[in-house]
Structure formats: C-alpha cells, structure tokens
Amino acid sequence: MTTMRLSDGLVLKRNYDPRSSRQSINGEQYVLHCHHFATLYTQLADDCGMLDGKKLMAEVAEDTFCDILRDYYAEHQVTGIPERVLVAEEYYAAMGLGLMKIRCAGPETGEVELLASHIDQGWVKKWGQREEPVNFVTGGFVAGAFSAIFDRAPRTYEVRETRSIVAGADTSKFEVSAS
C-alpha cells in the first residue's frame, strides 16, 4: 500500500489486492477509464429522455460522492467547512475530473467553478463543442459534496450548470441552491 498526501488536504491510500486483482483508494475500489468511456456514458444519459438519464447520472454521482466524502470526513475528523471544501476539490482532481474551485458555499446556496474538466474537454476532443451542458457527473458531484460538507441528506441541493467549457467558455459554472 502506498500513501500520498496532496498539499494539506487529501490523503489517498492506494492498495492492490493480488488475490482479486482489484485496485482501491482508501478502501474503495477504483477503476481507470478514459474520456471515450465517460463521454459515451454521458451521451447515453443525455439521449435517454424517457427516464431522464441526465438526472439519473447526476443522482448516481451525488449518491456515490456524498458517501465517499462523508466517510472521509468522519474517518479523518475533517470538521471545518474550509477543510471539507479543500478535500472535495482535491478529491475531484485526484479522480482526474478536473480543477474545481468552490467559490462560495453556505448551507443554502453556493457557486462552483471548473477551470478544467475531464468531461467537457473529453467531449470536445471526441465530438467538438455543443451549446447544451454535458457535465451531469459534476452536477451530481457538487450536490453530493454540499450534502457532505453541510451534513445534509442527499437530494437536499439542486445544481444548475450555467456556463460550460463544452460550449466554448473558459470555465464552467455551477449554481447551488437548497431545494
């Protein structure tokens, strides 16, 4: 097992289990995938209008990352809001999802900016720009992170992507509000 500490925030304990051939970080199994995989899953969610695939993908992300961040905060006794925000940002980057800056966060609202984005830049690399947002994963991540940061239940927050790298903007912006 190797342990890595990124700046003053996130601690990642990586492990490979030779018996099962599984890779884990902090006890959670992780897998490598590429932007083709991520953007094709995103496209599938986008196309699947009959059951609102975009919402489904965002909710899966919200559930997954809320759990993981909540567990991390508890295990490492991360109780301060600034420290929790930093961990969420660094965790997002460690997954290769991009450079996230939570510009402001309160129990009711927040603003989040993406300076780099795996999903948006992967989409542009694969298919080019488009006007509508595609980063449902990050919308869900932000909702889950806010729930974990403020000790609220999942589905507490609604997240709207109001500016998108995939549409040609320099950065993406997400606005958060308690529902």
Partner: protein, 218 residues
C-alpha cells in the same frame, strides 16, 4: 492460473502458448500510480484518463438497465458495451504503444498479435478491471476469455441475476480483438472498431464461478 488449460488436441491450442509472463506484468503494472496534473486531469495513452469509484459506473448501468423496461433493455446494454468497446479500442491502442508497455511487455512479445492479446489481458488484470485471461484463441476468428473476479459482478450481493451485467468486460474483449485482427488502428474508429462482437455466456453475477466472454467476428 494457466493459459494452456485447453484440451491438448484442440486446433486452437497453439495460439494459447505465449512467451508473455503474466505474473511479471501484473507485478510491475499493478503498482503503477496514476496521478493527476495541476489541472486535475490525467492525460495518458493519448486519452484523458479518469479514476472513478467502480460503483459509480455500475450504479449507473444498473439503474439505467433496470428502468428502461424490457423493450429497451437490450438496446441500453448494447450502448453500455459500445462505450467500453470504444474505450478499449482507443485506450487499448494507447496502452500497447505506451512507454510502460514498451518497457515491460514488449520484450516478452514474440508473436504478434497473439502475444499482444495475452499481454493486454495481463494489463487488464493489473489495473483492476477484471482478473481475466484468454482461454481459447482462434487467430482472426474467435476468442474466449474467462474473468475470475470483476467489479461489475458486485451489482449482485445475494442470489443470481437473470441477465449478465459485465458490459465493460464485454466491450473491452471485443475491442482487443478489433486491435489484434481488425486492421490498422483508426483514430476515428470508422474502420477498425466493431469488427468483432462479444457475448457474455457466464457471469459471477448470475451464479457462475467465473465470467465467460466469447468474441467472434461482427
């Protein structure tokens, strides 16, 4: 695990013998750390890589395939497999032309593309996608892969699923045959991709001891 478990008299047995040392590859590559750059991105193998919790992918595929209804479940499954096949094709090509591959796997390769296939499944194992190996190979025609552990099986913790659910393994198995026998690599994916297809005939999630994946010409 041995790669030569096929019946000795089978015509495809020779393609299973390989100079690729699976254990050595797995030992070396399983310790490779994937670390993001200053932009929170992981550019590698000519793609952007992500390292996400496995349950994110399986939760999405499970909820999606359960909710679309019986008329659309096969179409949804095909799209999930297709995502993996494109991923496996492009990232697979990036891997087998990478510095890591050239340093560790390429010196073991004496027969192309069969040894490349064996090496690719060792990498597939080392990086935690599926503990898998080629158990039958008819060059340019058919491949059977067994997976003894894979994260997609985790969707069932009790009982047996009526339909197999290893969409990622299916897609990647087909992609590796695309790379091996589908002609020159095509970055656009218009020619070399989807020359093979894969059917999952057994699954741990269905109560079998291992997953079985049969790849044939599309």
């Amino acid at each position: 695990m041995a790669v030569n478990r096929a019946v000795e008299t089978a015509p495809y047995v020779s393609a299973l013998y390989t100079t690729v040392d699976r254990k050595k590859i797995i030992d070396a590559l399983s310790k490779l750390e994937v670390i993001n750059n200053d932009e929170g991105l992981i550019p590698a193998f000519n793609v952007f890589v992500n390292q996400m919790p496995a349950r994110f992918w399986t939760s999405f595929s499970e909820r999606l395939t359960r909710k679309v209804g019986p008329d659309l479940v096969e179409a949804a499954e095909w799209l999930l497999v297709n995502a993996a096949q494109e991923c496996g094709y492009h990232t697979g090509h990036g891997i087998i032309t990478s510095d890591e591959w050239n340093a560790i796997v390429a010196p073991m390769v004496t027969r192309v593309p069969e040894d490349v296939l064996h090496g690719a499944f060792a990498v597939f194992t080392a990086w935690g996608w599926a503990k898998s190996e080629v158990v039958e190979l008819i060059p340019n025609e058919r491949m059977v892969v067994h997976a003894y552990d894979y994260y997609e099986a985790d969707v069932v913790r009790y009982g047996e699923r009526s339909r197999p659910a290893a969409f990622m393994v299916r897609g990647v198995c087909a992609a590796f045959m695309d790379l091996a026998y589908g002609g020159p690599y095509d970055p656009t994916g218009q020619t070399g991709l989807r020359t093979f297809k894969c059917v999952q005939t057994k699954g741990i999630e269905c109560g079998d001891e291992y997953g079985e994946f049969v790849v044939t010409r599309a």
